[in-house]
Structure formats: structure tokens, C-alpha cells
Amino acid sequence: MRLFIDVGRYCRLIYEAIRSSTEFSMYWKNLINEMVKTGYDSLPIIMLAGFFTGAVMTIQTSYQLVAGFIPATTIGSIVSQSLLIELAAVISGLVLAGRVGARIATELGTMSVSEQIDALESMGFNSVTFLVMPRVLAGVFMFPIIYVTAVVAGLLGGIASALMTGALPVSDFMLGARQVFTPADVSFGIIKSFVFGFIITSISCFKGYFATGGAEGVGKATTQAAVLSCIYILLADFVLAFVLL
């Protein structure tokens, strides 16, 4: 029962955000602000996560492919393709479910329990347009950029670990990556990152916007936002793989 009410309220919130988008021009400053906070500020952690994912994958793949007749370029192929179609999007999604999701839920949750959302409404603002819309749009716009960053960082990580461990020559790594590269894989990754961006920001807005019950309520909303975002990212990842691959 609770779940149905929640789904209903979630849909209403998103519907309201879309419906009110005509007056969005008033609030474009919020969008820029959110794009910086969601996208730009997340780049360091994404580069770190991407880099180490690529590095570890390279070492592990070369450890797993011991048979001599498999060319070393295969390692580059496997690492780069895994990054493109799965790892870059999912890992940045999971990392940002914590980083971006928690921030959004805390911000909106605090505003909700301290009557700041009421204050906005009472001044004549549409609080959904003002608060939810820019955050969701920023997620949808910025996640593809984050995804590309994660892919690049992952490839650099792969190259770095090839260099450091001597698992394979860097030229083989690059050649392997180029052999399997198709634009379709990139589109797939970008579609995923769009969806993940929407999931994280919309769920976190929902949890924060409707938070009640003081500081404790904000804490609860924040935890739920991060956990639910992760769950729905994994679910969506599965569904998208099923539908698109």
C-alpha cells in the first residue's frame, strides 16, 4: 500500500516538474548551479573511480587469460569494451548515487523540514520548478559527460597498469581497444548514463522533497535516496541490457 502511495507521489512530482517547465526560463540560474554541483564537482571522484577500475581490470584480465595462444591485444579489447558498455556507467552511477543523491536529498530534506519549501511556495514560487526541475535536468545533462570522463579515465588506468606491471605492451592495449570499438557501444553507454542520471536525481529529489520529521527525517531520506538509487540503477542496468543488447 505504502509503495503505491509512494509511486503515485513520485509520478506526480515528476509530472509537475515536466508540466511546469514552461516557466523554467525564470530559474535557469539554478540549472547552471546544479550542473556545476552535479557534474563538475563530481569529476575528481569519477576520474579516480574510472582510473582504478580500468587499472584493476587490466591486471585481472591478463591474470585470467593465461593461455599463450590468446593475443595480448585481447586484454585491451575486453577492458575497453567492458568500460564502454557497462563499467563506466554503472560504477559512476553507484558512486554518484552516494555523492549526488545524498547531497540532493539532504538539501531538499533540510529545506522541507525547516519550512523553506513552504516559504518558497508562499512567496509565489513553484517549488517543484524551482528545486526539482533543475536538479533532474542537471543529472540528465551531466551524466553522459561523467560517463565519457569515466571511460577516458578507465582507459588511462588500463594503460598505466599495462606500463607499470608489464602485463602487455601499451601499443597492444591500444590496438585491442581500437579493434573492438564501435559507436554503438558508446551510444549504449550514453543511454545508460542518461537513465542513471535521471534515476539518481529524481529519486533523491522525491525523498528529500517529501522528508518530514526534523533532522532524523532528513537522515532517513538521505539514506533511502542513496540506497534506492543504487537498487534502481542495478535494475535499470539489467533492463537496458536486456532491451538494447
Binding site: S114, E115, N126
Partner: protein, 244 residues
């Protein structure tokens, strides 16, 4: 004129109050008193439709506010200045920006006009030199006064004060009381003041509404309150250790 008619509100299974009816006449100041949790803030939030009731209506100049479409509702809301219980300042911007916030979005004032209007509002609440501080750097009483400055900056027709003097020292409380009286008299503003402070009630209010036991338990003028022998009301007034 605000007419509250047979209003009933519950959250889930919890009834807050039922069948509340009050008329608030132009220029009048209504005090809403009652225990913590009696639903004073909830009642106030129905006046500018931050909450919707289960039953009943609120008529403002004859029009039911709960049936208004959004564009009209927004205009209505802008006729209300609201001081929220915890001031509800936006904590990512400075005190000055908080007060200028509604002007920046909803007036066509120039930068200089906005500045003047904000300083004028801050001056009215006796805060002239805190503009550049963030809300986190202000004391509770200062935050409240910034909230009040923000509430009056658009020169509203109605002012809603949710516990304007709680947490303030007696002197500042008196200044706020004077301000409430002043706004009501000079600008002919209709005010609703939620308060626990009987001193404040006696100073500012024309009428008193007492919420108790999930209903409007008593309603009348200040003079009627002084002579009333309504038990719960007397007990409530007495508990505030103010003898009348």
C-alpha cells in the same frame, strides 16, 4: 475579509481539528493560541493554501481559495507575508539576499530600488548592519527578524506570524509586538498571530481563537477573554503566568 468555514484537517488517521470557523475582518489582528501540537501552524497554512483541508473552505474576499487555479493562487499567495515558526530562511544565501529574494523574482524594481526596499525592511525590524551575514551566523532572534523583514518586503495585504516572539528577549519581543501593531495600523494590514505569549496577545490582538481538544474551543475579543469563565482557556492563560 477572510472567512474560515467548517474546516476539518487530518493527517492520515490523526485528526488535527474539525469544524473550525472564524471570520477575520480587514485590519483586524487575530491571535491563535493553543497548546503545542494543537494545530495552530496547520491552521495558518490553510490560509495561503500551503495545505488543503479534508473538508470546509476558506473564502478570501468571497472566493474559495482551495478551488483556485495555480496562476491565481500564486497571486493570492503573494498578498500574504508569512513569518514561519523557525524563520525558514534560505541558508545558502545571505540575510540581505533572503530579504531581496521575492523582490528579485517578482518585482520589476531596479537594483537600487531593491536595495532601498530591503534596507527599509531590515530597518523596520531593527537590523541594519547584518545584511551580509549568512543565516547560520545569526542568532535565533535575528533570524526571526530577518524572516519578518522578508515577509513584509513585498508589502502584503495579510501578514501571518507563526510565533514571532518565541525565543526573543523581552525587549526585542516588545519591539516585534510594536511592529505588528504598527503594520496593522499604518498599513491597514490584516494579521494572524500564532503565539504562546499572552503578553503579546494582549498587546497586539483584537480577537482570540483558542484551539484545544481538536476543535476551535473558544473564540472572542480580548475583553471577552478577560472575563470568560471557559475552563480550558482560563487554565491556558493562567499557565502562562500572566494574570489578567
Amino acid at each position: 475579509m477572510i472567512e474560515i468555514k467548517n474546516l476539518t484537517k487530518s493527517f492520515g488517521k490523526n485528526l488535527v481539528w474539525k469544524d473550525v470557523s472564524i471570520d477575520i475582518h480587514p485590519g483586524e489582528t487575530l491571535a491563535i493560541i493553543g497548546k503545542s501540537g494543537s494545530g495552530k501552524s496547520v491552521l495558518m497554512k490553510h490560509l495561503n493554501v500551503l495545505l488543503y483541508p479534508d473538508e470546509g473552505e476558506v473564502l478570501i474576499d468571497g472566493e474559495n481559495v482551495f478551488e483556485m487555479r495555480y496562476a491565481r493562487l500564486r497571486k493570492l499567495r503573494q498578498r500574504f507575508g508569512v513569518l514561519f515558526q523557525g524563520a525558514a530562511l534560505f541558508d545558502s544565501i545571505t540575510a540581505f539576499e533572503n530579504v531581496s529574494f521575492p523582490l528579485r523574482y517578482f518585482s520589476d524594481f531596479t537594483e537600487q530600488e531593491i536595495r532601498n526596499r530591503v534596507l527599509e525592511s531590515l530597518d523596520l525590524v531593527n537590523l541594519s548592519d547584518i545584511g551580509n551575514k549568512s543565516p547560520a551566523e545569526l542568532s535565533g532572534g535575528m533570524r526571526k527578524r530577518v524572516g519578518l523583514a522578508r515577509a513584509i518586503v513585498l508589502k502584503p495585504d495579510y501578514l501571518l506570524y507563526d510565533e514571532p516572539t518565541s525565543g526573543l528577549d523581552p525587549q526585542t519581543s516588545n519591539e516585534i509586538n510594536d511592529l505588528i501593531i504598527n503594520m496593522a495600523e499604518t498599513l491597514d494590514i490584516t494579521s494572524v498571530v500564532i503565539t504562546h505569549d499572552m503578553h503579546s496577545v494582549l498587546r497586539v490582538a483584537d480577537k482570540v481563537a483558542f484551539l484545544d481538544e481538536q476543535k476551535l474551543s473558544w473564540y472572542g475579543t480580548i475583553d471577552e477573554m478577560k472575563t470568560s469563565d471557559h475552563k480550558a482557556l482560563k487554565a491556558f492563560v493562567k499557565a502562562s503566568e500572566y494574570t489578567i
